[in-house]
């Protein structure tokens, strides 16, 4: 702002400002401002003839109030009026107000544009400048639209004043930045380039900025600027420091212009014309020479200006990357700066050297400074400079100095600033991997890394170690040994435990020969760390243990003991608990062959891009690192081959079904179903170095359902893993399986076993049954005329009701059917409860057993309500097939049809009979006719627990006779089945064989059909 003359000093404004400054509190200030605003409002409203001075004063006050943070919603019109004033100060205040306060969608914008147009058209350079400044300051799209044509015209017009040209160039630059699409390139572009030859250095400076921006967008249009820029640059560089007068800054000739010209030249490749090229080289050499000259002034401004030019020149040299001598000279110059007193200089030198290191000409030169850089890393006080030193070390690293650099970085890591530790860790990991000559060194380095900076070692780093160790046979033994030794330390980082657990689990056998690292020692060492670790690590360790069981059968007992302990089997964490249970079962049930198959050594990983490098790139952004990598890859053969774009995590994304599929896949012989290639089978793969959650989630989701559906399927499929055995112990009925999961699993099972929906023990197809069913119950008057289609989806839960009278018969999303039943002799009563699980009503609810209508139920079932139905049963004669309960109701407009077999089986009508030993054998002998005896030998499906077996036999309905059989482990029972017409005596004997996991069941009754039926029913229970 030009100095205001005395007459222009606005006294009112000064008083107002001092009033505000003197206010004691915010409230007082607000009061004062309110008062002033009211005053200004009345002034603007009242006498229309406000002179320019007062207008300016009030607008100034408004501006001040606005800048204090208050809203101003008037006075714009007055400000616009000021624009048309002829006085500089009034016009200036008007423009100031407008550029600060007027937003682009104001109604006044047309008036303002008009005023600006007038000023641009005037011949007065100060007014033109004010207008141009206003355009640039507002810089909105509207402004660009209105003046995009005018500004270039002013810029290239021959008769424009220099100062206006300068403003116009900068104004155009601003418009170009804000709305580049609105500034048309035209014939003026060629003429703009010639501004570089302008007499006035200010114009040249402004024009260079403009041209640089434009050249970045359209390099071809401004190619001619190169020669002009070089010419201009050489003139400045060679000029004596006094030549340029106003533009010499502390003895440096036009530093800003030089920097801008050098920047402009960086938009283009080295000039092709040899003359220009020679001239440019000469310039650059001169700049480098000047850096060697003793400073002309001790002032910091002098050296700053000189160095600014120098650094820009070095950037240009690096950009061109074609003159070896220059590059080496630049490198040497930077080397000097590395020890400079000035921190900023050291920083810049390190930063520039980073880029120099990637040039083939100067890479060796940079390497000579390694000692200095390492020194900087150790002694530098400023963390940002140390960070640059790390970057430079990383950039200058190659095979020859890798060991030294990695060692230095490692030693620095111990004292490094926390903010850069993680990055250093990544860099060390990458360098160690890339330049590893022998892998023992690599393993040592990484283990050291984990030891020193365990917290900063990200997952990717240790995944990578595992990948490399697994893929390299030669290093596995050494890795196992080193890891084992590292784990001896009393305090290990968790990451080390993870690596240790994994590697020992895979390759522990390689060092097991040594008595100092015998299997038991290995296991005890790992287990000593177990309790200090987090859940994911513990899960990994559990997997390592099961691998141990495979590797070293001699420690099986110890490990099983550990797995069996309450802290594992009943761990609060579901993942740990599940692993413990599964691994324990696996170790108990499976034979060594199966174990070996299931727990096979991990297959090699597919080669892929190093996950660490990907992480570093992510961390740094697409900046320097990739560039260095690209450059390097050409010269250094990458140890691990070219990058492969399979991401490390794609493996983890395998969908749940395939996991379950793979869980079973090892057991049955290979099917024709193609196994997913991307994911290795789950049990082979429990140690995958992937985030544990990745497979923990699908497992957890599938596990519950897996068990439940496994039970019926297991009846007929070869249940190798015995995982289904938990069902019968499980109080939750299998029917609770959510249908989606069930269907999902059906797919899995369908290849190995008969469909789940057709359970094995329905011996007689429904349609073939009528004759037998005719006489089994009084409630079935006739054989059922049930369509096959219904029977097809008859649910078959009766299995578990053989030994039980109460429970949940059926359940889906809508309906739950509960059951309670009691029997006496040949009569029974069954209470059926229908529970509506939804919140809406079921309409037209009806249930009947076959065609017989029972006591009709209420036709509507309210949301959440329960309905009870009583069924009376009488056993007329012995029977096989159970009656079917049909349920129909309307839910949400659709008719639901459900058919459920009622769990009425012959054994329900048992009356237990106690008898003495000789009685029993006497009767046993009486029933010796061959058709009266039925014997069945079968494999145990569940664990052979004596108590459970006893409970089942009693639940079956017979009396359990103790001390009858000479062999105490055998079970003997006796009972009478009551039907309406007859009574059938029944004796049974169950002989378990623990070794073979088999049972022999013998039944003798007075009726052959009864014997057969009872035998079928009971044998399914064990």
């Amino acid at each position: 702002m030009p100095a205001v003359s005395k007459g222009d000093g606005m006294r009112g404004l000064a008083v107002f400002i001092s009033d505000i400054r003197n206010c004691k509190s915010k409230e007082a200030e607000i009061k004062r401002i309110n008062k002033e605003l009211a005053n200004i409002r009345s002034k603007f409203k009242g006498d229309k003839a406000l002179d320019g001075y007062s207008k300016k004063k009030y607008v100034c006050k408004l501006l001040f109030i606005f800048l204090l943070g208050h809203d101003i919603d008037f006075g714009h019109m007055e400000a616009v009026n000021l624009l048309s004033s002829n006085k500089y100060t009034e016009k200036q205040i008007g423009y100031l107000f407008i550029s600060v306060l007027v937003n682009s969608n104001s109604d006044l914008i047309r008036l303002i544009n008009n005023a600006i147009k007038n000023d641009l058209a005037s011949r007065n350079p100060t007014f033109m400048n004010l207008a141009l400044h206003c355009i640039a300051n507002v810089g909105s799209r509207e402004m660009a639209e209105a003046f995009a044509a005018d500004v270039p015209r002013i810029l290239v017009a021959g008769d424009t004043m220099d100062s206006v040209k300068q403003s116009a160039a900068l104004c155009l630059l601003r418009l170009n930045r804000t709305s580049p699409d609105l500034v048309p390139m035209g014939e003026w572009t060629a003429r703009v380039v010639h501004l570089l030859n302008d007499q006035h250095l200010g114009v040249v400076t402004a024009a260079t900025s403009l041209i640089t921006t434009l050249a970045q967008k359209n390099p071809d249009d401004f190619k001619t600027s190169v020669s002009l820029a070089v010419a201009r640059l050489s003139r400045i560089v060679t000029s004596a420091s006094t030549d340029l007068q106003d533009y010499t800054y502390y003895f440096v000739a036009a530093p800003w212009l030089s920097v801008k010209l050098l920047r402009l030249l960086q938009c283009y490749p080295p000039p092709e014309d040899a003359a220009i090229r020679g001239r440019l080289t000469e310039c650059l050499e001169t700049i480098l020479n000047k850096a060697q000259e003793p400073p002309k002034s001790k002032k910091v401004q002098h050296s700053n200006a000189k160095n600014a030019v120098l650094f820009e020149a070095i950037s240009l040299i690096i950009h061109h990357d074609s003159e070896p001598t220059l590059l080496v000279r630049a490198c040497n110059q930077l080397g000097q700066f590395l020890q400079h007193r000035e921190t900023n200089l050291r920083y810049l030198a390190l930063e520039s050297m980073c880029t120099l290191a990637s040039s083939e000409f100067s890479h060796e030169a940079v390497k000579t400074h390694i000692e200095t850089v390492i020194n900087a890393l150790k002694t530098e006080r400023d963390v940002s400079v140390r960070q640059r030193a790390v970057d430079l070390l990383y950039a200058m690293c190659d095979r020859s100095n890798a060991k030294q650099i990695v060692a230095e970085m490692l030693s620095y890591l111990e004292t490094a600033d926390y903010s850069i530790r993680e990055e250093i860790v990544l860099k060390v990991a990458i360098l160690a991997e890339k330049y590893a000559v022998d892998y023992t060194w690599y393993v040592d380095t990484i283990l050291n890394l984990i030891r020193i900076a365990g917290d900063y070692v990200s997952e990717e780093v240790w995944y990578r170690v595992i990948q490399i160790v697994i893929n390299r046979d030669d290093v596995q033994g050494y890795a196992a040994k080193t890891v084992f030794e590292a784990l001896q330390a009393p305090a290990c980082h968790e990451n080390l435990v993870k690596v240790g657990g994994y590697i020992l689990g895979e390759f522990g056998n390689l060092i097991a020969g040594d008595p100092r690292s015998s299997p038991l020692v290995q296991f005890n060492l790992l287990h000593s760390k177990f309790h200090l670790c987090s859940v994911p690590t513990r899960a990994l360790l559990l997997s390592a243990y099961i691998k141990f069981i495979n590797l070293f059968p001699e420690v099986k007992g110890t490990i099983q003991e550990v797995l069996r302990s309450d802290s594992q089997l009943r761990n609060a964490d579901v993942e740990l608990q599940q692993r413990a249970v599964e691994y324990l079962r696996l170790s108990c049930v499976a034979s060594t062959d199966i174990l070996a198959t299931v727990l096979e050594e991990m297959p090699p990983f597919p080669e892929r891009e190093s996950s660490i490098l990907a992480k570093l790139k992510r961390k740094k952004g697409p900046g320097t690192v990739p560039d260095i990598e690209e450059n390097r890859k050409e010269r250094n053969a990458n140890v691990n081959g070219g990058p492969n774009h399979t991401s490390a995590t794609s493996n983890a994304k395998a969908s749940p079904p395939s996991f379950v599929g793979d869980l079973l896949a090892p057991a049955p012989p290979p099917t024709n179903r193609p196994r997913p290639v991307s994911s290795a089978s789950f049990l082979q793969n429990p140690l995958t170095p992937l985030p544990p959650q990745a497979y923990a989630i699908p497992l957890a989701a599938s596990a519950g359902t897996f068990y439940q559906v496994a039970a019926p399927a297991a009846a007929s499929s070869t249940d190798l893993l015995g995982l289904g055995s938990s069902t019968s112990l499980n109080s939750t009925p299998p029917a609770a399986a959510p249908p989606t999961a069930a269907s999902l699993l059906v797919d899995v099972f369908s290849e190995n076993s008969p469909p789940v929906s057709a359970p094995a023990h329905i011996a007689v197809p429904a349609t073939a049954a009528p004759a037998a069913d005719d006489n089994f119950s009084s409630i079935t008057t006739k054989s059922f005329h049930v369509a096959e289609s219904i029977l097809a989806d008859v649910q078959e839960p009766t299995d578990k009701f053989v030994c039980k009278n109460n429970g949940v018969l059926y359940e889906n999303q809508l309906l739950q059917i509960g059951l309670k039943s009691e029997y006496r002799q040949n009569l029974g009563r069954m209470y059926v409860f229908f529970g509506n699980k939804t919140s809406t009503q079921f309409l037209n609810f009806a249930s009947n057993v076959l065609n017989v209508h029972l006591k009709p139920v209420d036709p509507t079932v309210d949301g959440g309500a329960q309905l009870q139905q009583i069924i009376n049963i009488e056993c007329v004669s012995d029977f096989v097939e159970a009656p079917v309960l049909n349920i129909q109701f309307r839910y949400g407009g659709t008719l639901q049809n459900i058919a459920v077999k009622l769990p009425i089986t012959l054994n329900k009508f048992f009356q237990p009979t106690e008898m003495m030993s000789q009685d029993f054998f006497q009767r046993w002998k009486q029933l010796s006719a061959p058709q009266q005896e039925v014997q069945k030998i079968f494999k145990a499906k569940h664990s052979m627990d004596t108590e459970v077996t006893k409970a089942k036999i009693i639940g079956f309905g017979v009396a359990l006779l103790d001390g009858v059989d000479p062999n105490p482990s055998n079970f003997v029972g006796a009972g009478v089945i009551h039907t309406k017409t007859t009574q059938v005596g029944c004796l049974l004997r169950l002989e378990p064989n623990m070794q073979a996991q088999m049972y022999r069941l013998t039944l003798r009754t007075s009726r052959d059909t009864v014997s057969q039926r009872l035998c079928d029913l009971l044998s399914d229970q064990f």
């Binding site: 004691k24 309110n34 009211a38 409002r41 009345s42 009242g46 919603d73």
Partner: protein, 442 residues
């Protein structure tokens, strides 16, 4: 517990700084200044948490009082303490102002030592404090050993708020019922919210250790008596006045520490041994059956974009014999007001630009009267599309009755040891109803 206590002036300069616990460092003083007093945005919350340190502040005039703690204290306790602290300071040196604080800083430190011990609030009863923290010079204090031990036994005793052996020639007591009535009313005259918060302030000049019993027309007590069939003679005592039939429902109340709470809980009777001098016996709040002393009827008409006509009628709604005082009606004006003409029948009205409001003042007004003001407001057209938000018209006044309807029924004084009875005590009762936030939307 309170870790420290700071007092700042309006510029954020520290006037008083007292740290009670080591966990409060020196930088806490600056943290509060930077983050609260000098905050860019005005801090409205009285509790501010800065770097795991909690600052509880109250502002009196231009003075900031801030209590600091690193612990999880009871915030209500801290504020109660801060208010008490203000009361104590006012009792010692009058208005809390920067100058007064600077002049009395020694006294304040002395007080702070006494009323907070290791951050735990202690006895903050002005009467008790004044016995041992005096403002006279050391020479003026002719305290005998006996007197000093008496102070000790009083301060540490069961009745810490009153010392023994007080004697007055005239036994007198003054009872002030001070209420402030808050209202928000719709333009149509519908009550949107209304409540009264009141205080009973007592000034007692009684000899000995008198046992007092205070009675008012609390609905629960009255109903209980009605049911019991026994009419308590004291209910018609000379203090309660004649119109003690209406009872009021008190929503909640708090008492001075001298009131025996167990008795209040069981019998709902308020009995106590009063401190000597002035103190606040109880505080209460009611929301039902409030007598609204004034009704404001606004009428705003927008005449085009540049003119606004406002007419406001106020009606007084109480006994014609009573006089309301210090009536002030504040009518907000739009932010783009450029000129105002006012005509009013009674009192004086003026447009105050600094407050963006027309302020209408009436000195006195009797009950069941009505008065009106009309104003023409000229507006300056703005390019702001926002409509004027029409803030409510607010009102201030003072009336000589309790808007909640509370009546003092009796205050009985028993002193068995000295020979004066309830009849010998001269008792004065005064009711003052003031406006709190008394607003009507327009």
């Amino acid at each position: 517990m309170i870790g420290g206590l700071f007092i700042y002036n309006h510029k954020g300069e520290v006037l008083i700084s007292r740290v009670y616990r080591d966990d409060i460092g020196r930088n806490a003083v600056d943290a509060f200044r930077v983050n609260v007093i000098h905050a860019r945005q005005q801090v409205r919350s009285p509790v501010t948490n800065i770097a795991r340190t909690s600052f509880f502040h109250v502002k009196r005039a231009n003075i900031w009082l801030a209590a600091v703690t690193k612990q999880n204290v009871n915030a209500a306790m801290v504020f109660e303490f801060l208010y008490k602290m203000c009361d104590v300071m006012t009792a010692y040196f009058g208005k809390i102002s920067e100058e007064n604080i600077k002049n009395n800083f020694v006294l304040i430190y002395e007080l702070l030592d006494e009323i907070l011990d290791f951050g735990y609030p202690q006895n903050s009863e002005t009467g008790a404090l004044k016995t041992f923290i005096t403002q006279q010079g050391i020479k003026g204090q002719h305290q005998t050993k006996e007197e000093q031990s008496q102070i000790t036994s009083q301060v540490t005793g069961q009745i810490g708020w009153r010392r023994e052996g007080i004697k007055y020639r005239r036994n007198e007591l003054f009872l002030d019922v001070l209420e402030s009535v808050n209202l928000l009313m719709s333009p149509q005259g519908q009550v949107l919210s209304a409540h009264v918060s009141g205080r009973v302030v007592m000034k007692s000049y009684l000899s000995g250790m008198p046992e007092c019993k205070f009675g008012m027309n609390d609905k629960i007590v009255i109903d209980k008596q009605g049911k019991g069939g026994t009419t308590d003679e004291a209910g018609k005592s000379e203090l309660g006045g004649s119109s003690g039939k209406q009872s009021i429902a008190i929503d909640d109340c708090t008492f001075h520490q001298c009131v025996r709470l167990s008795k209040f809980d069981s019998e709902r009777s308020i009995s106590f041994i009063p401190p000597d001098g002035e103190y606040e016996l109880m505080r209460y709040r009611t929301t039902k059956d409030i007598i609204l002393p004034f009704r404001v009827i606004p009428l705003v008409r927008e005449v085009g974009r540049t003119k606004l006509e406002v007419k406001v009628v106020i009606k007084s709604n109480f006994k014609p014999s009573l006089l309301a005082q210090k009536i002030e009606v504040r009518i907000p004006t739009p932010l783009n007001t450029s000129g105002v003409q006012v005509i009013c029948m009674k009192g004086k009205a003026k447009y105050k630009a600094s407050e963006n409001a027309i302020v209408w003042k009436i000195k006195r007004m009797a009950g069941m009267k009505e008065s009106q003001i009309s104003a023409e407001i000229e507006l300056l057209p703005t390019n702001d599309k926002k409509k004027w938000a029409r803030p409510p018209i607010s009102m201030n006044f003072e009336v000589p009755f309790a808007p909640s309807g509370l009546k003092v029924r009796y205050l009985k004084v028993f002193e068995s040891k000295l020979n004066y009875s309830d009849h010998d005590v001269i008792k004065w009762v005064r009711y003052i109803g003031r406006s709190g936030i008394y607003e009507t939307r327009c």
